[in-house]
């Protein structure tokens, strides 16, 4: 629907901005509520008649200090950081290589390989997690971060390859061909020419890979059992409940803090996230 010209400003508020408000509330309210809950004292939190929407009895930091001092929260965060960073590096490297060969090189099996990559992306972890748990066990990687570093690329590589393929195809062939006439090899052309031009795509792939790794839950839950090895998502959802008692304040604090790295990346690189999704849609 196109924008109307010469529309009365009040009319625009009603037709354009007002309908957006329910969507914005729907999207943002859970985060607001999680933050408010994490700063509420236990007394007010568990008071049945109290208004849940804001804090009346003073902002309280005990949930955060409990989280940071009396749980392995920081260990979980560092585990997530390590697993995500390593998986991202491995996957993006593999994807750059695979995407470049699919975009530029014609060889027997290239097209089939492309289809295989695409199909692999559609095989969900929900199908693979059970047998993978046995493979991981056989490789001796059970209960360690390395099980994740090794398995995360299985869904990161197809996605990043697909994403980068689009960006690489948009790099004009001529500049590479110029370089190769001057004596550069394919490898040199890739590293010195294509990569700098396709840098936005690489940043995009890196961001998505990191986000998908950080957010991953099923494999981390399945492959890792001891508390000290858990990642942030698993530790916060599983280990903050003692017996039957839910430490809701700390649970919310954990959920808020556990999302912080992603939020930081998101705020700084918003346009890359949007363009990544957009590129996916118009393929």
């Amino acid at each position: 629907m196109s924008a109307k010209k010469n529309s009365h400003p009040v009319k625009r508020i009603f037709e354009v901005y007002l309908p957006l408000v329910p969507f914005l509330i729907f999207a943002l309210f859970p985060f607001y509520f999680m933050m408010v809950t994490s700063f509420k004292g236990d007394a007010e939190l568990y008071e049945l008649g109290a208004i849940p929407f804001w804090i009346r009895k003073g902002v309280v930091l005990e949930h955060y200090s409990f989280l940071l001092n009396q749980t392995p929260f920081l260990t979980w965060i560092s585990n997530s950081l390590l697993a995500s960073a390593l998986s991202t590096m491995i996957s993006v490297t593999m994807s750059i290589m695979a995407a470049y060969s699919l975009a530029r090189l014609n060889f027997l099996g290239a097209h089939s390989f492309g289809i295989i990559i695409f199909i692999t992306y559609l095989v969900p972890p929900a199908l693979l997690f059970l047998p993978l748990s046995q493979v991981v066990h056989k490789l001796g990687l059970s209960d360690s971060i390395w099980s994740l570093v090794v398995t995360y690329p299985t869904f990161l590589v197809p996605f990043c390859t697909w994403l980068l393929l689009g960006y690489f195809k948009n790099v004009p062939k001529e500049i590479e061909e110029c370089a190769m006439v001057d004596g550069a090899t394919r490898f040199q052309a890739l590293i010195k020419i294509v990569l700098p031009v396709a840098l936005p795509g690489i940043i995009c792939a890196t961001l998505f890979a990191f986000t998908l790794s950080w957010n991953e839950f099923l494999y981390a839950l399945t492959f890792i059992s001891s508390t000290a090895q858990k990642t942030a998502t698993v530790g916060i959802t599983a280990d903050l409940i003692r017996g039957d008692i839910f430490y809701w304040g700390s649970l919310m604090a954990g959920a808020v803090l556990g999302s912080v790295p992603i939020v930081i990346a998101y705020v700084f690189f918003l346009d890359y996230y949007v363009s990544g999704l957009t590129a996916g849609a118009i393929k």
Partner: protein, 315 residues
């Protein structure tokens, strides 16, 4: 003798000593060699950690393997037992209800939101950023927030409904403890999480529709409804198909939301394939049966992939 010159290589003008190193360098400039080298890491990874586990899954599903003890071949017994199992049949029903309703709402709401966003807006960047947030934040963690929002005693949803006069008391609706309400809750969270993906993707498709088409339609007398049904929807079809097919796969195989919110309960009324497979295969240890449950996803995947590829080939 025909000299074979591989495409895309520079001809060495002089060849000095035919050393191994130099021959290797020339060999490495062939497209095919470089191509295979570049894709071999990814191929190896996918072979060992996707193709091989898939093969193992097939083996497990026709065996009676338990955790810690290798099993033996039992044919299709696992599958037959499942089709007789009321919990599995409930899961089957849950999966279709969950996926059908969620994808429907995500499509309708996503389309609406995309249409709203496709106008001249101030703060466009902020609004888009806010809308996309549920999709980017770790689902397991944001579902914790929803868990608290649906808590049986302290639910803010109930509080709001009570104060709006919709329900009689704040503990009237035990969302996560009542069968249909739990399914509703899980659907709501899934729609909340997936809506941004639909909205932003459809928006991309909307932006690509040329203005001239709308202007031409206006001069032909088309109103807003006419423009929507005769221009917007048909031109959005490719994007919609892709987004719906992707979402169907990921919604059907969802694990995080159901696991964190309900663990599949109450009384198995929200179990999906993934959560049931986890329960049966890993928690209870019956790997054979768990693998069989997971594999029920496969036919649906094949059908979806087939349609996806068909659509992509069409363009």
């Amino acid at each position: 003798m025909i000299i074979d010159r591989p495409k895309g290589t520079a001809i060495p003008i002089y060849i000095q000593k035919d050393s191994l190193w130099r021959r290797l360098r020339v060999y490495l400039q062939r497209d095919a060699v470089v191509g295979y080298l570049l894709i071999s890491p990814a191929m190896t990874l996918l072979l060992i950690l996707v193709a091989y586990p898939f093969w193992i899954a097939l083996y497990f599903s026709v065996s009676n393997t338990m955790v810690g003890s290798p099993g033996s071949f039992v044919g299709l017994r696992n599958f037959i037992n499942l089709l007789d199992n009321s919990i599995f049949l409930q899961t089957l029903q849950n999966s279709f209800v969950f996926t059908g309703i969620s994808v429907f709402f995500k499509t309708v709401l996503g389309l609406t939101l995309a249409l709203l966003l496709n106008q001249k807006l101030r703060f466009k960047r902020f609004i888009r950023g806010a809308i996309l947030l549920p999709f980017v934040i770790p689902t397991a963690l944001s579902t914790l927030g929803w868990w608290w929002m649906f808590d049986s005693l302290y639910s803010v949803v109930n509080w709001t409904l009570y104060h709006l006069g919709v329900i009689a008391s704040t503990s009237e609706l035990n969302w996560l403890g009542t069968a249909h309400l739990a399914m509703a809750a899980v659907i709501i969270v899934n729609v909340w999480r997936g809506l941004p993906f639909f909205a932003i993707s459809i928006l991309a498709g909307l932006v690509a529709i040329p203005q001239e088409l709308y202007e031409a339609a206006e001069t032909d007398g088309a109103g807003r409804v006419g423009k929507f049904f005769y221009i917007t929807l048909p031109l959005l079809r490719p994007v919609l198909v892709i987004v719906v097919l992707f979402s169907t796969i990921f919604t059907l195989s969802d694990f995080n939301i159901v696991y964190v919110l309900t663990r599949g309960g109450p009384v198995n009324s929200t179990h999906l394939f993934a959560t049931l497979a986890n329960q049966v295969g890993l928690v209870s240890g019956n790997i054979g049966e768990g693998a069989a449950i997971s594999l029920f996803l496969f036919p649906i995947l094949v059908i979806t992939v087939y349609f996806q590829l068909k659509m992509i080939r069409k363009d």
